[in-house]
């Protein structure tokens, strides 16, 4: 992400780049880090192993160790970039969480290690058969991917804290969710026109325009398995997830005064709660379901290009905003030639598009200090922390052992089409023993290998001599067959 950002800025500004990029201390602050740099907790790596894994030359593909288990036998694999940044700026976390009704004193997600967390390792084996409506709370499974830019800080913080914000938000509605007889309050105003073709998209983010018809999902099969009316319970969960993202972003903003939290990150999360899978996405990671060889997109990417409408909507309805914006630019560039004043809101096209020539994703967490290069214009007002949430009813279909939900950062999707990913996973799983607990991790390793490729004389190459991904790549392969056991 960073390289692209850097080169876009460099192109625009004629090659002048301020600050260093590879280092995570580039903001020059003396503040302590909120969390030290880590790899996902569930990988259980020692410091030496983390050091070995950061090899930009051989780029080892890390997988889940044999002794570690994730909920639902989820598979996971990751690889570091080809040298664009010292660290792997992707982060991941996976947890089994319990939501209990709030009792008096409000707990803040800052204080981690509370009783909300059932086990320090996301080993949900014992939990998954017990359906979530226990007497004293609701259990949910949580998978998350964060892709950091301009430092690993925000991604690490989000990977450590976002699930606690989700618990916090769900606490307010836990009673209603548990007791289906209680009628929930009316769903907040959604915009029915933004409902996408393949899965319902209930989100206030969508009402900001721009989510609908987002490109980047080459195939949009006309699967219509959401035919029933909106289910209010879903709305509550969606609202909770949206709020959790916003709260996470606000926490990062607040804590900037006490800690160094570098850069920003995208966030793609999956929550399994009461029979439904919720996919919340802010950024350019992607989730697809592969069911019986068929692709069901579960997210859309938020980039300057896909959000052109939302961004322009932000500016255009009130002339004032526009005037204000250009005033800022004038103030920043009053000494510059007339030509340079035409700072476009969106600069460039396709994967290279940038908001004001600065950043390649328009939704995510962090980036509070990001400014248009060489200016005092903050980018943050143009970014949004609100995710798009899609819902998939896990119980409406009898899933097979090879039906999976694939989550990955843009490192994978930049070089492989949905169809290629689907074909690779389907073929891979067909060749492995259906009872092998490692099969999903091996499938994830195979996907990372296909996207990374092998190092040849002319760089990393994948099939058909195409360019492999030089970015950090992280992949979850989540089997959906566990849904069958839950009914």
């Amino acid at each position: 992400m960073l390289t692209r950002m850097k080169s876009a800025v460099a192109n625009f500004m004629g090659g002048i780049m301020a600050g260093s990029s590879g280092s995570d201390h580039s903001n020059g602050s003396e503040l302590p880090m909120r969390f030290p740099y880590v790899r996902p907790e569930f990988l259980g790596l020692s410091q030496d192993e983390i050091e070995c894994s950061a090899d930009h030359i051989a780029r080892p593909i890390l997988i889940l160790k044999e002794t570690k288990r994730l909920p639902w036998s989820t598979g996971y694999a990751e690889v570091i970039n080809a040298g664009k940044s010292t660290h792997n700026e992707d982060q991941a976390s996976c947890e089994v969480m319990i939501v209990k009704k709030k009792t008096g004193v409000q707990s803040t997600p800052n204080k981690t290690s509370s009783n909300k967390r059932r086990s320090s390792l996301p080993n949900g084996e014992g939990l998954q058969l017990k359906e979530s409506t226990e007497v004293d709370g609701i259990t949910f499974q949580y998978w998350a991917l964060f892709d950091g830019h301009a430092g690993a800080g925000a991604a690490v913080v989000a990977s450590k804290l976002l699930h606690h914000h989700i618990v916090e938000q769900l606490q307010d509605v836990v009673d209603i969710l548990k007791n289906s007889a209680v009628l929930p309050p009316t769903c907040l105003g959604e915009d029915p026109e933004t409902t996408s073709a393949n899965s319902r998209t209930l989100t206030r983010a969508a009402s900001l325009r721009g989510a609908a018809g987002a490109p980047g999902s080459p195939s949009t099969p006309q699967t219509r398995f959401f035919t029933e009316k909106k289910v209010p319970h879903e709305c509550l969960v969606i609202g909770a997830l949206e709020n959790a993202f916003k709260e996470m972003d606000l926490q990062i903003e607040r804590e900037r005064s006490a800690y160094s939290i570098s850069g920003g990150c995208t966030a793609l999360i999956v929550v399994y709660l009461l029979g439904k899978i919720y996919v919340a996405n802010a950024g350019d990671s992607r989730a697809i379901i592969i069911r019986n060889g068929e692709i069901i997109p579960m997210s859309s990417e938020f980039t300057p290009e896909t959000e052109r409408q939302r961004l322009q909507y932000l500016v255009s309805p009130t002339k004032e905003a526009l005037v204000h914006l250009f005033l800022n630019i004038f103030l920043a560039y009053k000494t510059i030639e007339e030509d340079d004043l035409k700072f476009p809101l969106i600069y460039g096209e396709g994967k290279k598009a940038r908001v004001m020539a600065t950043i390649g994703v328009t939704r995510g967490l962090g980036d509070h200090d990001l400014k248009v290069h060489d200016s005092n214009i903050y980018i943050k007002p143009f970014l949004s922390s609100v995710p798009e949430v899609r819902v998939y009813d896990l119980l409406q279909y009898e899933h097979g052992a090879d039906d999976v939900l694939v989550l990955a950062t843009d490192g994978l999707w930049d070089v492989l089409l949905n169809e290629e990913v689907s074909e690779a996973v389907t073929n891979f799983l067909a060749c492995c023993d259906p009872d092998d607990p490692h099969r999903y991790t091996l499938a994830a390793q195979d996907l990372v290998m296909r996207a990374r490729g092998v190092l040849k004389d002319r760089g990393w190459r994948i099939s058909n001599d195409r360019l492999g991904s030089g970015d950090d790549i992280s992949v979850y392969v989540i089997p959906l067959i566990h849904g069958n056991k839950l009914t």
Binding site: C52, I57, P60, T67, T86, Q445
Partner: protein
């Protein structure tokens, strides 16, 4: 911890020959009779001393199965040393050495030091490959040779350290370009004469200490 040099090793050979056990014996000084099958890559690290200098060995243990071969191949790059292991109680693992060696030569840098290891020397009664055969193969292909036992720890220490000595000698002779990280050697922060430095080199030292 500060070191003068860091050497990267890779351990290769058929599945079941004792690669993971050799690594565990070297890093943790213990033998674990039932080791999980390696399905990706696993890492180990240990500090040794050669010529009064602290050297950090970073060891990559790979999966031997045919289905992981293309992934394993991609890890030869950037290795300064390789331990090629066979099992003296299974002749087929000895017969496959040629294939492994071809793979290694093709995908590694030409200066990589290769140590041929005949493992499970404690199982003398079940021996299928004579020591002389291993020695002859090593001589023919220009490899160093040792018989080891990951179980009794016999020669394990020596196998890893002798490989490092060979790499160290090559550095002294100027065979390795130590400023090229693709050779599997990094200069540590405490090295008295780090050689010609550029901005690239400074970055390496910084990245390796944290």
């Amino acid at each position: 911890m500060a070191y003068a040099y860091l050497f990267k090793y890779i351990i290769i050979g058929d599945t079941g020959v004792g690669k993971s056990c050799l690594l565990l014996q070297f890093t943790d000084k213990r033998f674990q009779p039932v080791h999980d099958l390696t399905i990706g890559v696993e890492f180990g690290a240990r500090m040794i001393t050669i010529d009064g200098k602290q050297i950090k060995l970073q060891i990559w243990d790979t999966a031997g199965q045919e289905s992981f071969r293309s992934i394993t191949r991609s890890y030869y790059r950037g290795a300064a040393g390789a331990l090629l292991v066979y099992d003296i109680t299974r002749r087929d693992t000895f017969n496959h050495l040629t294939t492994w060696l071809e793979d290694a030569r093709q995908h590694s840098n030409s200066n990589m030091v290769i140590m041929l290891i005949a493992n499970k020397s404690d199982l003398e009664s079940r021996r299928e490959v004579k020591k002389e055969e291993g020695e002859a193969f090593a001589r023919e292909h220009g490899l160093i040779f040792m018989e080891t036992s990951a179980k009794t720890a016999s020669n394990v220490e020596e196998a890893f350290i002798n490989t490092a000595k060979e790499i160290y000698e090559k550095i002294q002779e100027g065979v390795f370009d130590i400023n090229n990280e693709a050779n599997g050697i990094k200069i540590g922060p405490q090295n008295p004469m780090p050689g010609p430095t550029g901005p690239h080199n400074a970055g390496q030292a910084g990245g390796s200490c944290c």
